[in-house]
């Protein structure tokens, strides 16, 4: 059964800064790994805290399995949180930290023993059970926090930037484990993060947020390939942008008229004579050593910087007063003529790879 947020809002009126969470409607399916992604201050943590019960919404409802939990205090909601800094209890051992919720429920000693051991085993830290919290590493603390939240068998696990306190190497490793854990326990995971790579890798679906507003909800692929907003496009992955006006001389062909030239675009719902942003992903663009037969979607420029990264090379191409990023896969050795800074090149792309979005200023 899903977790539903309907028309959820939250208004802060602290010192007049007036943060607002605009109405959010979301349905998160059982067993789904869902990410709330956005820059700091976008309201993603607020959403998580509203679900966790640490804040009360200004309006709207939260339904868990059809049951309204909006007004319930945290300890009466069947969901648990993994905190950003883990918030392990320093006065308790690892075992007692994990056993905390079970002890509050006054379960029998053997059952506690059994369930804690099971939880510790699940996150592979059975050997740490008698340590103190200051005797374990950051990665281990993360596992304790997970075990502590899972031991009580919640329906939903909330994770507040759980990986941000770890060093980069460990962070990448833990991503895989988190994903595997989610599938293994079959629970709904809702994770807050500002790391787009993390969200892309982990989530089944994600919501991209900005300024208290949910901009787009979808799978990683949808968000990356078909962003609905220039902000979403820029926030996830790198982009090249061309701003121009839409015009068409026939019902079949539309063009974007810009200072860099006219480019053909795929027909979609945009009205004519509208100011639009053409968004191009660097890996979807190609560099041509010389002017080819292709006449469409061609820009002439010169390479002003290049970085060889092994599997690919990243070029920065200067076109008039704009710069473009182009990633080229190093597919075959020596196949292509080597390019150097200062070389003249032509940029091109396939019409269907271009993303057309409303210009934010229009």
């Amino acid at each position: 059964m899903p977790l539903e947020l309907s028309g959820l809002t939250k208004t802060y009126s602290k010192d007049g800064s007036g943060f607002r969470l605009l109405p959010i409607d979301l349905t998160i399916e059982t067993g789904e790994f869902f990410c709330l992604l956005g820059p700091s201050g976008c309201g993603k943590t607020t959403v998580l805290r509203l679900i966790g019960g640490f804040e009360t919404p200004t309006s709207g409802k939260i339904l868990l399995n059809g049951k309204d939990i909006t007004q319930l205090p945290p300890h009466k909601r069947n969901l648990h949180t993994v905190f950003q800094r883990y918030a392990l209890f320093p006065h308790l051992s690892i075992f007692e930290n994990v056993a905390f919720s079970l002890r509050l429920k006054k379960l029998g000693r053997s059952e506690i023993e059994e369930r804690v051991s099971e939880a510790l085993k699940l996150v592979q830290i059975e050997d740490l059970r008698d340590r103190r919290t200051d005797q374990i590493s950051g990665g281990q603390a993360q596992r304790v926090a997970l075990a502590r939240a899972l031991v009580d068998r919640p329906e939903v696990l909330l994770l507040d930037e759980p990986l941000s306190a770890l060093d980069p190497e460990l962070r990448v490793k833990m991503r895989e484990e988190l994903k595997a854990l989610c599938k293994k326990v079959g629970l709904t995971f809702i994770m807050v993060t500002h790391d787009q790579e993390e969200a892309l890798q982990l989530s089944d679906r994600m919501a991209v947020m900005r300024d208290g507003q949910c901009l787009q909800v979808g799978t990683s692929k949808t968000i990356y390939e078909d962003p609905v907003d220039p902000f979403v496009a820029r926030f996830i992955g790198q982009v090249n942008e061309i701003t121009g006006d839409l015009f068409g001389d026939s019902p079949e062909t539309y063009f974007l008229q810009s200072s860099l030239g006219n480019f053909r675009i795929k027909k979609n719902g945009h009205p004519l004579n509208k100011r639009l942003n053409l968004i191009l992903r660097p890996e979807k663009m190609r560099l041509l050593r010389q002017r080819s037969q292709v006449q469409e979607n061609l820009i002439e420029g010169s390479i002003c910087d290049l970085t060889y990264l092994g599997s690919r090379t990243e070029y920065t191409v200067k076109v008039k007063d704009a710069t473009f990023k182009v990633f080229e896969q190093e597919l075959e050795r020596l196949k292509k003529r080597k390019l150097n800074v200062g070389d003249n090149v032509y940029l091109t792309w396939r019409t269907e790879d271009a993303i057309l979005l409303n210009s934010p200023n229009s």
Binding site: G52, G53, F54, P73, P74, H75, H80, T81, F83, Q84, R85, A87, L88, F89, P90, H91, L92, F100, S101, L104, K105, R148, A149, D152
Partner: protein, 261 residues
């Protein structure tokens, strides 16, 4: 980079030496046959006399009792305040802030006199109880600040984590908050005890005729003139104080307050 210059270093060591001279001299006097004559030879008789004279033991017991009771009272009140105000501490209205600072800022002579007037107006008989209350009235604020610092160091997520795991408000306090502020409680108690044990002026005003604390006893002996027992007593008190300081310094939470006096 060069180290401190010798002039500065010399002043430092002379200052430290001078700070200890009066106390070391008191200790030395305890063992002199004639405390006012360095050449009179050494004896242990004054110390032995001290242990035999009940008139000096009684004030010590009184001081200890007052210290224990007032420290416990101050810790209770101060901790309640800190627990309640920790969330608001940084944006308390100025009148409340001033109220909390008042016992620390007010000169002791005014604190003492105003409490005396207060007790007289209420027709409370001066004595043991008034001294205990008076001591707790000024040390509660010190305890408050120690506890506040300790509580601020607690990760606020920890209380939320406990709540998230099913703890009710009172369970959060007993099972999570309290076990984590015990070091601060102990430091605060020791500080309050030391403040009470050391206090002269406020006891002077609020004790009435019948009650004599150790500092009051020393004061009255001083007024009479230097007596050898007084030196023995000094020796004993220096030992107690040194022990207390070392205990306080060993507690990180209160170290800062030791260095503020």
């Amino acid at each position: 980079m060069r180290r401190s210059n010798p002039f500065v270093t010399t002043i430092f060591y002379i200052a430290i030496l001078l700070l200890y001279t009066p106390l070391l001299y008191l200790i030395l006097q305890t063992f002199l046959v004639n405390p006012n004559n360095l050449k009179s030879g050494f004896t242990l008789s004054w110390l032995i006399k001290l242990f035999q004279s009940p008139s000096l033991w009684e004030p010590l017991i009184t001081s200890l009792e007052i210290g224990i009771l007032s420290a416990s009272l101050a810790v209770t009140v101060g901790t309640l305040g800190a627990v309640g105000l920790v969330e608001f501490a940084s944006f308390l209205p100025p009148p409340i802030q001033s109220l909390i600072m008042l016992p620390i800022m007010l000169p002791e002579v005014i604190t003492g006199l105003s409490l005396l007037l207060f007790f007289l107006l209420l027709r409370v008989e001066l004595g043991f109880a008034t001294v205990v209350i008076a001591h707790a009235s000024f040390s509660a604020s010190f305890v408050y600040f120690i506890m506040l610092e300790q509580l601020k160091k607690l990760d606020p997520q920890m209380a939320e984590a406990a709540q998230d795991l099913g703890a009710k408000p009172h369970q959060i306090f007993w099972k999570v908050t309290l076990p984590n502020i015990i070091p601060g409680l102990m430091g605060g108690w020791l500080l309050a005890f030391t403040l009470s044990f050391d206090d002269f002026l406020i006891s002077f005003f609020t004790s009435g005729a019948g009650l004599t604390t150790l500092p009051l006893k020393i004061y009255s002996l001083m007024r009479i003139g230097v007596t050898p027992e007084l030196n023995g007593l000094s020796f004993l008190m220096i030992c107690i104080s040194t022990f207390l300081v070392l205990l306080l310094v060993s507690k990180e939470q209160s170290r800062k307050w030791v260095l503020r006096g």
